[in-house]
């Protein structure tokens, strides 16, 4: 009788230990998991004092290519899905700028995209502009293939000198990009 009781307890314990349940799981959901963070950071900052502008010998007082490999790095270019580039141009000089051009260049130097600004002399409001790339905006491949920027500025007619303490023109820019990590 004692032996029977012992084995009965043993059996019950084993049945209890081995009898488990599990709600239905769907591990295929992993395929639907999307890791699409959005990162933002500054891109380019250009500053020119009125003195530098006045010293320019031609109307195109400045033109320069800037290598920028961040966009064309495969870790970024293969994952980027959309983005917004924000520009902010502030002019406190008395100089009018007929055109400030920001050109996106590919590896071969071909122009992929151009952003143009007309900037009147001070006093003038800060010029802000947001350009969307990706769905609903410019082609995201422009970003993917951009290897450098060309920035050039063409000044207008001669002007007087500003009376402000530190007159200058600044071009600020930042990017906000959504990337597909998974």
């Amino acid at each position: 009788m004692k032996s029977f009781r012992t084995y009965l307890i043993t059996s019950l314990v084993l049945v209890f230990l081995l009898n488990s349940c599990m709600e239905e799981q769907n591990f295929d959901q992993y395929e639907d998991l999307r890791l699409r963070p959005t990162y933002e950071a500054s891109i380019l900052y250009i500053e020119a004092s009125e003195r530098a502008i006045d010293a320019a010998s031609s109307a195109t007082f400045f033109s320069r290519d800037f290598n920028f490999d961040a966009f064309s790095e495969s870790v970024f270019s293969e994952r980027v899905r959309s983005g917004i580039i924000t520009y902010e141009v502030e002019n406190t000089t008395n100089q009018e700028f007929d055109e400030i051009l920001v050109e996106f260049l590919d590896e071969a130097g071909n122009v992929l995209y151009t952003e143009s600004f007309y900037v009147p002399p001070a006093p003038t409001a800060v010029l802000q502009r947001e350009i969307t790339f990706g769905p609903g905006g410019e082609n995201i491949d422009i970003i993917r293939n951009t290897s450098s920027f060309r920035v050039s500025a063409t000044i207008g007619a001669d002007s007087s000198t500003s009376t402000l303490s530190d007159p200058k023109i600044t071009l600020k820019s930042s990017g906000k990009f959504t990337v597909a990590l998974k």
Binding site: K2, R5, T6, I9, T10, V13, L14, F16, L17, N19, S20, C21, M22, E23, E24, Q25, N26, F27, Q29, Y30, D32, L33, R34, L35, P37, T38, Y39, E40, A41, S42, I43, L44, Y45, I46, E47, A48, S49, A52, A55, F62, R64, F66, N67, F68, D69, A70, T86, E88, T170, K172, S173, S174, K176, T178, V179, L181
Partner: protein, 476 residues
């Protein structure tokens, strides 16, 4: 490097479903020889025992304090992205511990000394231990990015993890001192197969309004990841001799360390017993196949800055490369092969037990072949009830568990221990362990958090221990 990344990623993921080891069922379970491994001062009355190689002690615990598989993968029609965002990213805290331990006894045995008050035990076991705390801010960066988090400091200290795999060679002495006191000491030699740890990270990443440009990105980092053995295993994997390399490193071909276990049992009176043990008080010195990585420094960037007219002085200047070099100089990512010391996760057990009911007939009185106790211990009672405490030293400080238990002996053939454990992971952890004796053959099976077996996928903590031994109490 690819293997290292894969391995570390796997460890981190696996750790997400594992839980730190607490062998509350095995502790003070004197019918099972392996109880000596959690308290070398446990009262035992064996003449000798021999574990069945590879089967004498198998233990594994899996769990998670913050989330379960069911929370993410339940077939409930909800979008997995919402579930991850709400339950993992938003629901888990940095204190949520993601850890686990397994042990596999390769060799185990014990014998009574010439002095019957002494009992010696020895063996080899393979152990893996890993822990990772929820890296919340890293997860936010990976899942959502920094775009909507202006001025938020992403805390780099959220990366806190460590793990190791080793073989442990041990020899222990269990000595009855008289007056109900039993002391135990176990010396251990660790042969590390692999190790990684990154526990002292500090710093932050923050995006703020820029001074010149629109945004400023600041990285302040003091981070380090130390590894040993990963390169050797990586090469072995490529060469197709991974198993032999693991075996070689586990048998003194890797890094070595030493440690001790201490323990005692003391009968305050005939029925009241207090016990305690301190396990893995030791360290491993890593000098072989060491690879450490660090990121240390402070940098604030606002993109490429061009100030005219000075910027035009060098027409060939590569502003992008200058920018990259400047960041590299300010926050260098470096690696080295300097040796380091890693301390084992030390564990502490203590218990108070009250024995009651009929004293169990001692094996000395049994007429079976495997009877007769040579040890003159105290009486064994049919019932025992009490409480236990468990603590383990972890990177964010000690982790504690409290256990209430009931221990019941059914003659000489069976003993059962039921536990109720409360810790940071569960308030409903009921465990059950059973040891069965069929002649000289001892089989034990223990499982934790049984209520969670109603839906294993929803469990944040599931574990088992089992083993097979041959035990002798001596012959008449």
């Amino acid at each position: 490097m690819r293997f290292q990344k894969t391995f570390l990623a796997t460890i981190l993921l696996v750790c997400g479903y594992m839980h730190g080891q607490n062998k509350q069922l095995l502790y003070d379970f004197g019918e099972v020889p392996q109880s000596l491994m959690v308290n070398p001062g446990t009262k035992v009355d064996f003449k000798w025992y021999a574990g069945i190689p590879m089967l004498s002690g198998i233990s594994l615990q899996v769990g998670s304090s913050g989330i379960s598989a069911n929370d993410i993968f339940a077939d409930d029609g909800l979008d997995i992205n919402d579930k991850v965002r709400d339950r993992a990213i938003g629901g888990m805290k940095i204190e949520d511990e993601l850890s686990g331990t397994y042990q596999l006894e390769l060799l185990s045995g014990g014998f009574q000394g010439r002095n019957p008050n002494n009992f010696y035990s020895f063996g080899i076991y393979n152990e893996g231990d890993a822990i990772g705390y929820w890296f919340k801010d890293y997860a936010i960066l990976a899942f959502e990015g920094n775009a909507d988090y202006l001025d938020k400091r992403f805390d780099l200290s959220h990366l806190k993890t460590r793990g190791e795999m080793m073989n442990v060679f041990h020899f222990g002495v269990n000595k009855r001192m008289g007056n109900g006191l039993v002391l135990g000491l176990r010396g251990k030699l660790y042969s590390s197969i692999l190790d990684f740890n990154s526990t002292g990270n500090r710093g932050y990443f923050v995006t703020t309004e820029g001074q010149n440009n629109l945004l400023a990105s600041t990285l302040n980092a003091d981070m380090q990841l130390r590894t040993s053995g990963l390169s050797a295993l990586d090469e072995a994997k490529d060469d197709g001799n991974l198993a032999s390399t693991i075996i070689k490193r586990g048998f003194f071909g890797g890094n070595l360390g030493v440690g001790v276990d201490l323990g005692f049992s003391y009968n305050i009176n005939e029925q009241l017993v207090v016990t305690g043990s301190l396990l893995d008080l030791g360290f491993i010195y890593h000098a072989n196949d060491v690879k450490s990585y660090s990121l240390n420094g402070n940098a604030t960037i606002e993109g490429i800055e061009i100030i005219l007219p000075s910027a035009l002085s060098d027409s060939n200047r590569d502003f992008w490369q200058d920018f990259v070099d400047e960041v590299d100089a300010l926050v260098p990512f470096e690696d080295d092969s300097e040796s380091y010391v890693a301390f084992r996760p030390t564990k502490l057990y203590a218990s108070l037990r009250y024995n009651f009911g009929k004293p169990v007939r001692s094996r000395q009185d049994c007429d079976c072949n495997y009877s007769v106790s040579s040890n003159k211990g105290s009486l064994k009672y049919a019932n025992g009830v009490g409480g236990q405490i468990y603590m383990i030293n972890r990177p964010r400080g000690p982790q504690t568990a409290l256990t209430a238990f009931y221990h019941r002996r059914f003659g000489d053939v069976m003993a059962v221990k039921a536990t109720y454990t409360v810790d940071k992971f569960s308030l409903t952890n009921v465990g059950l362990g059973v040891s069965m004796q069929a002649g000289p053959v001892n089989l034990y099976l223990m499982a934790d958090n049984l209520l969670a077996y109603q839906n294993l996928a929803a469990s944040q903590y599931t574990s088992f221990q089992l083993g097979l031994n041959i035990i002798s109490w001596g012959k008449n």
